[in-house]
Each structure stands twice: as C-alpha cells, then as structure tokens.
C-alpha cells in the first residue's frame, strides 16, 4: 500500500490547536497573512489548501 495524500504543511493563527508532527507548521498573525502563506505554499508545492474550519489550514498533496 502506498500513501497518495500527504499533509505538506499546517498553517494556523492558533498555536494551541496544533502540535509538532510530521508536517512543518507555519504560524500567521492574522487572517490575511494566513491566506497569503497558504496560497504561496500551495503554488510552490502544487498542493491544495483545505480549511479545517477551526482556524487551521492544511496543505495537502493530492
């Protein structure tokens, strides 16, 4: 079995919602920065931004 979907990065404003894991975590200070980091990372990694709807965005390679 091989994994096809990976979480490439986690982007959040809320330090309490995530802890160190497999993927790098990027902290943003406001919503605008969050969006900007997410879009930039998505373009670079060709991943898709998903919103966990608790202030945490993840970047997934599909």
């Amino acid at each position: 079995m091989n994994l096809e979907k990976y979480i490439l990065a986690v982007i959040t404003m809320n330090r309490e919602k995530v802890s160190a894991g497999g993927a790098p975590i990027f902290f943003a200070s406001d919503k605008e920065e969050l969006e900007k980091i997410a879009v930039t990372l998505a373009r670079i990694t060709e991943g898709v931004i998903h919103d966990l709807e608790n202030g945490v965005f993840i970047l997934v390679k599909h």
């Binding site: 998505a42 931004i49 998903h50 919103d51």
Partner: protein
C-alpha cells in the same frame, strides 16, 4: 487476384471510415492517422488473401491470421503505454480506463477490417465482384451500427446544478465535492465555476457512474471541450466528479475557460460510456430483485 484486391480496398476503406477524428483529439494528425491507416491496410491484406489462399489449399495462410492477431495485440500494448505516458503531461488526465478503451478500440478495429476484407475477398472469389461490393457495403454499415458505443446521455440525465459553499466545503445541489481553504480560490469558484448533476436513468447507469475511470473520462472530456482554468500549480481547480451516496447521482464541477452551461451539458452527454466501466446489474435476477 481480383478477390484479393477487392478485399484490400474495402478493408482499407473500412478503416478510413472508422477513423473519424473527433473531439477526443485522437489519433493525432498526420502521423497518428497514417499509423492507423497503414495497420488497417496490413490487416486488410491479410484478411483479403485468406479465402483465395485456402481455396488454393495453401493452409499456411491461416497461420498468418493467427500471427496477425498477436501483432495487433502488441500494437494495443504500445498504444496503451504511449497514451499512459503522455497522460501525465495533461492538465486533466484521461485516466487509465479511458486509455484502455482507446487501445481496445484500436485493436478491435483492425480485426473488423480483417473480417470485412475476408468477407469481401470470399464473396468476390466465389461469386463475382458485385457480390463482393454488396457484402462489403453491408459489412461496413453493420460495423458502423454495431460498434457505436453508448454515450452518457443515453444512460443518464444531465442538468444544471446549483453551486455553493457551506463554510469551506463546496457543494453542487447536495453533492459534496471538496474542502477549499483559500478565499481567493472560493471567489474564483463562485465567479467562474459551473456545476452539473448527472442523474442515472436506471440502476445500471448508477453502477456505471460509480466507476472512477468513467468519472475521470467525464472530467477530461468536459475540460477538453470547454477549456480548464488552471495550471500545473493550481491543483484546486482540477475538475472533479463526485457521487451522492444516497441517490447514486454524480456531479461535475469545473472551472472552464468558456462559461457556457448549455454546451457543458451537451459535452457531458456525449462522453462515451467506457466499455470497462459499463455495469448491468439489472440483467441479473439478483440485481433486479435487490433493486426493488
């Protein structure tokens, strides 16, 4: 001699008739077409000489038929490999099932050509040229009718769907598609995307639409015809087809270049039903009983 010539000419013409270049952009012009035509010609030669050769008690001719079959299977493998390799380069890939379908058609058309020229050769040999022509025309017409696969419009109803976001989740009618985080992407979806709902007409259609290869084919054809608003680094604008589990309906979401709902629906209706995706549970007793 006359029989062989008639067979070859008819066989090659059959191949040409079957070789209609269409929106699937296959085969490519001019070299792809030449490959197809010349293989058709070879198939026609083999088919056409078979009966005259047998009549002359040249039984080795039959082994040539077997040899040809192996060759054409090889050609199918080559075709499949090439298309699979090229598929990685497409913005919206065809998918393995679609490619397998194309390769299969490629192989089987050569057999059809062989068969037509065999019939024409035989009829000319035992009758005369007029019989040969008559049989040939009949064979060509019959192959045209019999080899016409179904299209999606025949197994499902395609209509416009309402596209909306619930939080970060994208829906068309009540079919869930995906979770999108980026605000910019959401705005583009709301502004440019089109959503259609594909409602299967029967349980057979429902089972066919469940096939992932069939769904990839729908996305590919829609994108090939209306264009797709994405580049290699924007995975979120990949057209996708998802299924509503309760009803078996499928939905397509695409961000096209040409925002024309009418023609999107038309395009989806014309997607071929893939041979390998076609399921007919209603043809069995168990399937029929389970359905009611």
């Amino acid at each position: 001699m006359q029989a062989a010539f008639a067979g070859v000419i008819f066989g090659t013409l059959t191949r040409y008739y079957l070789l209609r270049r269409d929106y699937r952009q296959y085969p490519s012009y001019p070299h792809g077409v030449i490959t197809n035509l010349s293989l058709g010609f070879i198939a026609a030669v083999i088919g056409a000489v078979a009966i005259p050769a047998l009549a002359e008690k040249e039984f080795t001719a039959v082994t040539f038929l077997a040899l040809a079959a192996t060759q054409f299977r090889e050609v199918r493998n080559m075709e499949r490999e090439m298309l699979l390799n090229l598929d990685n380069m497409q913005l919206v890939p065809r998918g393995q099932e679609y490619i397998e379908g194309i390769a299969r058609v490629f192989e089987s058309r050569n057999y059809l050509v062989m068969f037509t020229s065999l019939l024409v050769g035989g009829a000319t040999f035992w009758g005369n040229l007029y019989y040969g022509v008559l049989i040939g025309v009949l064979a060509v017409v019959l192959t045209g009718i019999m080899m016409k696969g179904k299209t999606l419009g025949q197994i499902a109803n395609v209509r416009e769907g309402k596209l909306y976001f619930d939080g970060a989740n994208l829906f068309v009618d009540n079919i869930h598609f995906m979770n999108l985080g980026s605000q910019g992407a959401k705005e583009i979806y709301l502004k440019r995307a089109l959503g259609v709902v594909i409602e299967p007409l029967s349980d057979n259609g429902r089972a066919t639409l469940a096939n992932n290869g069939q769904r990839m084919a729908i996305a590919h054809d829609a994108a090939a015809l209306l264009g797709v608003y994405r580049d290699v680094d924007t995975a979120e604008f990949m057209p996708i087809v998802r299924r509503h589990l309760d009803t078996g309906r499928a939905g397509l979401v695409i961000v096209p270049i040409e925002q024309d709902m009418e023609y999107l629906i038309e395009a989806v209706k014309r997607v071929p039903v893939l041979e390998s995706a076609l399921r007919l549970p209603l043809k069995t007793t168990i399937g029929r009983k389970a359905a009611d």
